[in-house]
């Protein structure tokens, strides 16, 4: 066990596995703070993962792949927002619908566009970045340097999100809309517009997370490759009490569980038991063991403007 814990690979894998959880968890924080439960993040990640590969392959540029993934992901998010916010449909059911659609649609396109051989092997990948000075520090350098550019982008986004949500006027308004939309509207805030913003941001962050899976960690797409990360991200967000830093901490913890279970491949018992832990912890957090996680008051409740 000690050898495993002292292996820098375990810790860099933790960071790599935490990234595709932290990004949608951040996105979910914006969406739920504005009052919209977005389980469609799972489907948005999957669609973004596919289009990232498609655009990267067509243009020969991983950056354009990322851009395409973000655009498609945000389009899906806006469709979701339209049905959930404007048409006040049930948010969880809509999310499920989008997730089923995404799973079928990406697999269908994978088969029709690329055939059974899968996505092309010459698809470009987003670069890994070496950080000067840090990369020369033993142990720490192996963990903190040489990661995908998305990992560093995620870390910047966490700080930016925290600042935006808790230290700007717009962030305050988003939170107000999620806690008490009636009062917010009375104070002259446009509830609908801010909920669209919250959902759009969740689409943006999930799409980056999805692109990371397909052209950050790998350079290929496979069916259902998001494999529930959008849902686990929701758990991380709850475990992190709907805050950017909390979400990141929870994502790290869940990423650690995944990385550890990968190192323990050959002993089935500990691997599968460790994989259960994030879910058990989330249930405990919701029930109130160790400081209860309380959601924004108007989370998941559609709002119809007074006029």
């Amino acid at each position: 066990m000690k050898e495993i814990l002292l292996n820098p690979q375990l810790w860099s894998a933790t960071l790599a596995m935490a990234t595709p959880l932290a990004l949608p968890a951040l996105g979910g924080t914006f969406s739920e703070r504005s009052g919209v439960v977005n389980i469609a993040m799972e489907g948005i990640m999957l669609i973004a993962a596919f289009f990232a590969v498609l655009f990267a392959h067509l243009t020969g540029s991983a950056w354009l792949g990322l851009l395409g993934a973000v655009i498609v992901g945000m389009i899906v998010a806006v469709i979701f927002a339209w049905a959930a916010v404007t048409l006040t449909a049930d948010q969880v059911i809509l999310g499920m619908a989008i997730n089923i659609f995404a799973s079928g649609f990406t697999a269908y396109l994978l088969n029709t566009i690329f055939g059974f051989s899968g996505t092309p092997t010459d698809t470009p990948m987003l670069p890994n970045i070496d950080i000067p000075i840090i990369k020369n520090i033993p142990f720490v350098g192996q963990i903190l340097s040489g990661n995908s550019v998305i990992v560093y982008l995620m870390i910047i986004l966490i700080f930016a999100s925290d600042y935006f949500l808790f230290h700007t006027n717009l962030g305050l308004r988003i939170r107000a809309v999620g806690e008490n939309p009636e009062a917010a509207e009375t104070a002259g805030i446009n509830v609908i517009k801010l909920r669209y913003l919250g959902v759009a941001l969740s689409g943006l962050f999930s799409a980056i997370g999805g692109a990371y899976l397909s052209i950050g960690l790998l350079n290929s797409f496979s069916t259902d490759m998001s494999s529930g990360r959008g849902y686990i991200a929701l758990a991380a967000m709850i475990f992190g009490k709907w805050t950017p830093f909390g979400s990141f901490g929870a994502a790290l913890l869940f990423g650690f569980a995944t990385a550890l279970s990968m190192q323990l491949q050959n002993s089935a018992l500990s691997k599968n038991i460790i994989m259960m832990l994030p879910y058990i912890l989330t249930v405990l957090a919701l029930v109130g063991v160790g400081g209860k996680s309380v959601s924004p008051a108007a989370d998941g409740v559609p709002y119809t403007p007074k006029k």
């Binding site: 049930d90 989008i98 799973s103 079928g104 758990a235 919701l286």
Partner: protein, 351 residues
């Protein structure tokens, strides 16, 4: 329009719109939708074995869908039916292979009842009590418990206590005395279908003809009013989530005893998720669940045939399923279409 008629007509309209969008997708990717849909239909209903397999596919969807519908009726979203299904399948398998020398009329009910209890506890106790007393959202708790159940089954099968000797992660076969016999030879259709249909009638009776059902629906309709009317709201929350888990657990066991005869290692059966879709399309009516389960079962069996004969990737049916649910949830879109259509008509009349 009467409410009953509307509750039938809106889902059908949603299905029609989804099929049309499916055709557009096929046309855009160079397939012939008529050929695809006709081979889908033949695959689902073209021959007796095909019909039997479609019915067989409907069995777990009906039973799990009934459970999801009970929770929905009480205003609760049991998104973790998949995990309760797994728990039922695990318990059903274990009783199926580990008890020797029981007559079938004891062995089968024993396995089914034990699976129901296990599924009920999994869905009812933790998510139920958590919702009733701490307000923890059942969507998250049932989802998390579902993952725990699936990893638990991995643990049991991958070199765990339920793994058969050998290198394949699967359980031993259940004993003959626990097998629910098949109706149509060489198909998957077992007498499980009878259990499913009886369950549908039972849930209809429970929800619409008993005080318990009335109270659960009242709690789903308006929790605060039910509380002031003297109903025990926490009890009804735990009860409906437990019932939901009981049916999902039953579905898992029926699938093992009637079709699979052993537990395989896999990440998902898919039935728990499709069951939610089944309940939604049926607007949570137990009788409607039977028909909507048949539709999705037909999409499932037909899709393989469609892939072989029309070369259209079978996942198209998932696209259609997703669209159906989208339009069922956002039924205001359909009303939007209708008003647009009416406006156009008026303008035509005016000109």
């Amino acid at each position: 329009m009467s409410k009953v008629l509307k509750s039938i007509y809106m889902p059908i309209l949603a299905v029609v719109i989804a099929i049309i969008i499916g055709s557009i997708i096929m046309l855009a990717t160079g397939f012939n939708p008529v050929a695809a849909y006709s081979s889908l239909f033949i695959g689902a209903f073209g021959t007796l074995p095909n019909i039997a397999n479609t019915l067989a596919n409907a069995v777990p969807l009906i039973i799990t869908g009934l459970g999801v519908a009970i929770a929905f009726n009480a205003g609760l979203f049991n998104i973790g039916a998949e995990g309760q299904y797994w728990i039922g399948a695990i318990v059903g398998t274990w009783i199926g292979y580990s008890f020797k020398g029981l007559p079938w009329y004891i062995h089968i009910p024993l396995a089914l009842v034990a699976a129901m209890i296990a599924g009920g506890l999994w869905g009812g106790i933790i998510p139920g009590f958590a919702k009733a007393y701490t307000g923890a959202h059942e969507v998250i708790t049932t989802m998390m418990m579902s993952y725990v159940a699936i990893y638990f089954s991995h643990y049991l099968l991958e070199f765990g206590p339920m793994m058969e000797k050998g290198s394949v992660p699967q359980s031993p076969l259940i004993r003959d005395s626990a097998v629910i016999p098949t109706i149509v030879p060489n198909t998957q259709l077992s007498y499980g279908i009878v259990i499913a249909l009886v369950a549908a009638l039972f849930v209809y009776w429970l929800m619409y003809k008993t005080v318990w059902g009335y109270e659960m629906r009242a709690v789903g309709f308006n929790q605060r009013a039910s509380k002031y009317a003297g109903m025990n709201v926490p009890f009804n929350i735990v009860l409906s989530l437990s019932l939901s888990g009981i049916f999902a657990g039953l579905a898992g066991a029926v699938q093992i005893l009637g079709v699979q005869h052993r537990l395989y290692d896999s990440f998902t059966s898919g039935y728990g998720y499709t069951a939610i879709v089944v309940a939604l399309l049926a607007k949570n009516n137990p009788i409607g669940v039977v028909f909507s389960a048949l539709l999705f079962a037909a999409l499932g069996t037909g899709s393989q045939y469609m892939q072989l004969n029309a070369q259209v990737p079978g996942q198209l049916t998932d696209v259609i399923t997703g669209l159906i649910i989208f339009f069922v949830a956002a039924d205001k879109i359909i009303e939007l279409f209708k008003t647009m259509f009416k406006k156009q008509k008026k303008e035509e009349l005016a000109s």
